[in-house]
Amino acid sequence: MATYSTNEFKGGLKVMLDGEPCAIVENEMVKPGKGQGFARVKLRNLNTGRILEKTFKSGDTLEGADVVELEMQYLYNDGEMWYFMDPATFEQHAADEKAMADAGKWLKTEETCTVTLYNGRPLSVTAPNTVMLAVSQTDPGVRGDTAQGGTKPATLETGAVVKVPLFIEEGEIIKVDTRAGEYLGRAK
C-alpha cells in the first residue's frame, strides 16, 4: 500500500492508524511562527464510526488503507447476512449486521447503495440518501387534523417505521430521507 505524508492528508483519504482503517475528515495546519509545524487531523474510524482527533508532526507518514467504496446492488438477506452484487464484475459480497448498522431497514431488492470494502470485505454499507418505499401499515388519518400538521407512525415495506402526515394511507409510496429517518413527501 502507498504511504501518505501529512501534506497529502485530505478529506476522504483512507489510512491505517493503530491497525484500524480510518478516513480523514479534516486536516488543519498548526504551526507557531517560530516552531515545529503539525497537522491536526480529524479521522473517522471506519470500523467503529468514531471520530478521532490526532496530531502529526509535519512530514510524518501513514500507510494507506485498502479501502474502496463501490456502488453495489442489494440482492437479498438470508436472515444472517446481506448480499450485494458489484454490477461491474457481478461479484457478490456478504455484509454482516455490524457492517449494515442502520442501512438494512431502508433497502429493498435491487436498491443501489455504497458498500465500503476493507481488504475485500464489506466494512460498512450506506443506504441512498433518499429512498422511495411503500407504506405497508398505518392507522387511518383523522379527518380535519391535517391543518395541525400532526403525524402518525407508518411501517414501510422494508420494516422501517417513520412519522408521516395524517393524510398518508396504506399502499402509498413515500420518499424518505435515510440519514434523518424522516418523511420527505409523497412519490410523484
Binding site: F9, E28, P32, G33, K34, Q36, E53, T55, S58, D60
Partner: protein, 326 residues
C-alpha cells in the same frame, strides 16, 4: 501546506479577487493607522531587501531559494537581520511593513507570502515594549492586552512545568493531547503542547501577551537569569488575539558569539532533520560585533491581524489573490 484546507475553486473565474472590496478597504485603513501611529512616535519607516545571500537557520522556517543571474539568493522569512544592521548603524527606532516568504506553509491561517509589521525600539525594556504594543492595539480599537506568564499558563493547561519537566513527562502529556508522532525533541514537544493545550485556553481572551518562554524556545531572545529559585527564561513574548498567534517579540539578543552558537546549533538540528544547511548571515554577526543597541522588537502578521479585526474565517478572505490564484 494542508491541501485539505486549500480553497475550493468554484466555477467563478479565477482572475477575480477573493477579498471583498470592504476587506481591501479595511487593509488600507489598517496600514494608514499603523503608519500614523509610528510616525507620531518618531519611529522611522525603512525598507530592506527581500532577497538575501544569507538565510535564516531556524529549522522550523523554510526559505525560498531563488537564482539571481545564476547566484543563489533567499527570500526573507522576516526583515529582522537587515533591520538589526540598521539599528547597529545607529538608525534609532525603526519599523517596516514588508512581504515575507515561508515555504511549506499553507492552511487556514498560513499563506506562503504574507505581510509583516516589524518594529524595534532601542532603549526599551520588555515592559516598555508591551506598553507600546498596547498603545497600538488601542489605536486599532482593540482592547488592552492581558499579560500572561508562559510557565504559569503551561502548568495550568498541562500540569507540567515547561522550564524543567523532562522529556518523558512532556511526551506522556503530549500523548494525552492526541500526538501520534514519536521521537520529538524537547522543543518540538513544547511547541506541540503549547499549540494543542495552551492556545485553546486563550480563545476567550480578546488580546493576550504571553511572556518568558522556556530556554529551548529562546529563538533570538536574550536570556534572563532567574533569581530566588526561579528558572532562567528567554525574554520572548507573543501576542494572541482570541487564541491566534499574531506577533512574536524579543528583548533582542545582542551577543555576537552567542548568536553564532545559536546559528550553529540550528544548522546541527537542520542536519539531524535532513534539511539543507543555510549560509549564515555574517553581516548580521558583524553588526552584532560592532554593537547592537539594547533593544526590543516585535513582528506582527498583518494578514492575521486583519482577519481578527474583520472577522474573516480564513486568510484567503483578506488577500486580494491567494497563491492558488496568483
Amino acid at each position: 501546506m494542508s491541501r485539505a484546507c486549500a480553497p475550493v475553486d468554484t466555477d467563478a473565474a479565477t482572475w477575480q479577487p477573493l477579498a471583498s472590496p470592504e476587506r481591501l478597504r479595511q487593509r488600507a485603513a489598517l496600514l494608514t493607522t499603523i503608519r500614523r501611529f509610528m510616525d507620531a512616535r518618531g519611529i522611522l519607516e525603512v525598507e530592506t531587501p527581500l532577497l538575501s545571500r544569507a538565510a535564516v537557520t531556524d529549522p522550523a522556517l523554510q526559505s525560498f531559494a531563488v537564482a539571481v543571474d545564476g547566484t543563489p539568493y533567499y527570500l526573507q522569512t522576516s526583515p529582522e537581520f537587515a533591520m538589526k544592521r540598521l539599528l547597529a548603524a545607529g538608525s534609532g527606532p525603526i519599523y517596516q511593513v514588508a512581504k515575507v516568504f515561508r515555504d511549506n506553509e499553507r492552511g487556514r491561517w498560513h499563506h506562503p507570502e504574507f505581510t509583516m509589521l516589524e518594529w524595534y525600539r532601542p532603549g526599551f525594556s520588555v515592559a516598555d515594549m508591551l506598553d507600546e504594543i498596547d498603545a497600538l492595539l488601542l489605536a486599532l480599537e482593540l482592547p488592552r492586552s492581558e499579560r500572561l506568564d508562559y510557565g504559569a499558563l503551561f502548568q495550568q493547561a498541562t500540569g507540567c512545568d515547561p522550564h524543567c519537566a523532562d522529556q518523558q513527562t512532556l511526551q506522556r502529556r503530549a500523548l494525552d493531547f492526541g500526538l501520534v508522532s514519536r521521537d520529538l525533541s524537547r522543543v518540538e514537544l513544547l511547541d506541540f503542547l503549547f499549540s494543542s493545550a495552551v492556545m485553546p485556553e486563550l480563545k476567550d481572551r480578546p488580546c493576550a501577551i504571553v511572556s518568558d518562554f522556556p530556554l529551548a524556545q529562546a529563538a533570538l531572545a536574550r536570556i534572563r537569569r532567574g533569581a530566588d529559585g526561579k528558572p532562567d527564561v528567554a525574554e520572548r513574548f507573543e501576542l494572541f488575539i482570541h487564541g491566534v498567534e499574531i506577533g512574536n517579540g524579543f528583548h533582542e539578543l545582542a551577543d555576537a558569539a552567542e548568536q553564532r552558537q545559536r546559528f550553529q546549533a540550528d544548522q546541527a538540528e537542520r542536519g539531524r532533520r535532513g534539511l539543507a544547511q543555510r549560509p549564515l548571515d555574517e553581516n548580521l554577526l558583524a553588526a552584532l560585533t560592532a554593537g547592537l543597541p539594547d533593544c526590543c522588537g516585535i513582528a506582527i502578521g498583518l494578514d492575521r491581524l486583519l482577519m481578527q479585526v474583520s472577522g474573516a474565517g480564513r486568510i484567503d478572505d483578506v488577500l486580494a489573490f491567494p497563491v492558488e490564484r496568483s
